[in-house]
Symmetry: C2
Subunit: 207 residues, 2 copies
């Protein structure tokens, strides 16, 4: 580490994967006729809205990599706080020599649009179909269409609004799992408070 | 919405961008000779560890898209809670008709390895160089090498460990900004508690 001469109070760290936080998600997959497998991924995210797409990064040596490369299908499952230990376990254990669903006490359930199962205990399940694999070095980046979203019925209010605060989701940052904390504001709130004095002004929201 | 016959308690939602949470990051960029610009992105993440890489997704109509496409450079800046309002503002305003650094009270500062500035008030700044642009539909996915990481000096302890809990970072999920909440455990803790009875056993951690 060296102090940067260009910026007081800043220090040069290592040029690593310091995008925080990430989801802490369970990826489920299955070779036809095989046992379903589970894998924890922190390197995943939304990448396109129309059509809805997400990406996950996997090391080629991971057991699930071969399954997803072959089938072109997976489910991205978002776990709640009570599943944190199972999420961690599925990140360090390998499905090569273990039934991770059984070992972690999680339940596969059939989801729409893909033939591999989701994780029933996870409140959000995204059925995904791979469109492209980009080889990057240590990891392959799988780009995928989001074909269907399943959520726990109890998380939707009467108006069909998803109540994320009830899902009790977790995230991952710098080697630790965290809960969500305080809700700070809704997207657009900085320009929506008419009459309140602040330094910002409403501008073109389209670009 | 229809209740899935295959899973009790689950409901089919819309197949949208429901990967939660995401970072709430400020991307800074600059055309040579032009003014530096800022853009808020929630669709970004780590994608490769060796070499260290991240991705951001941008709509082609965003002002910053053209700048990054031309220069192949940007800085991904992670904001703390006190910057949440500025983060929101930079997500709805456009740099086409506004100096967003000036309007939001944020300060550009020179970072290593790229010629565009970072955001001094953000505790983490990642200098990035674009390696590939993948056109997906509504968004372009920019893949980039992480060339350097700058962090606030006060966030490193005496052993050079980054104290993420002091950075007070925020995240974004389903239209809202959140703080980090409770720290649940360190990666690997599910198999590291020797002597404590649980359903998991230590297995191959390499695959």
């Amino acid at each position: 580490m060296t102090v940067s001469p260009g910026a007081a109070g800043k220090i040069a760290w290592n040029p690593g994967n310091h995008v925080f936080p990430t989801p802490a998600a369970l990826v489920s997959c299955q070779t036809p006729g095989g046992k379903p497998n589970l894998l924890t991924v922190a390197w995943c995210g939304n990448i396109n809205s129309n059509p809805p797409m997400l990406s996950i990064s996997l090391r080629p040596e991971r057991h699930s990599h071969a399954i997803i490369k072959e089938t072109g299908e997976f489910v991205l499952n978002l776990p709640s706080r009570r599943l944190a230990r199972a999420v961690d376990f599925c990140g360090v254990a390998s499905g090569r020599n273990l039934d991770k669903f059984a070992a972690s006490g999680l339940s596969p359930f059939p989801v729409a649009r893909v033939s591999c199962p989701g994780v029933a205990e996870c409140p959000v399940n995204l059925s995904c179909r791979v469109t492209q694999r980009v080889r990057l070095g240590s990891h392959d980046l799988f780009l995928a269409m989001i074909e269907e979203t399943m959520v726990d019925f109890g998380l939707m209010d009467r108006n069909g609004r998803f109540q994320i605060e009830k899902a009790d989701l977790i995230c991952y940052a710098h080697g630790f799992y965290f809960t969500f904390g305080k809700r700070l504001g809704r997207f657009g709130w900085s320009v929506g408070k008419v009459g309140r004095k602040h330094v910002y002004t409403r501008t073109d929201q389209k670009s």
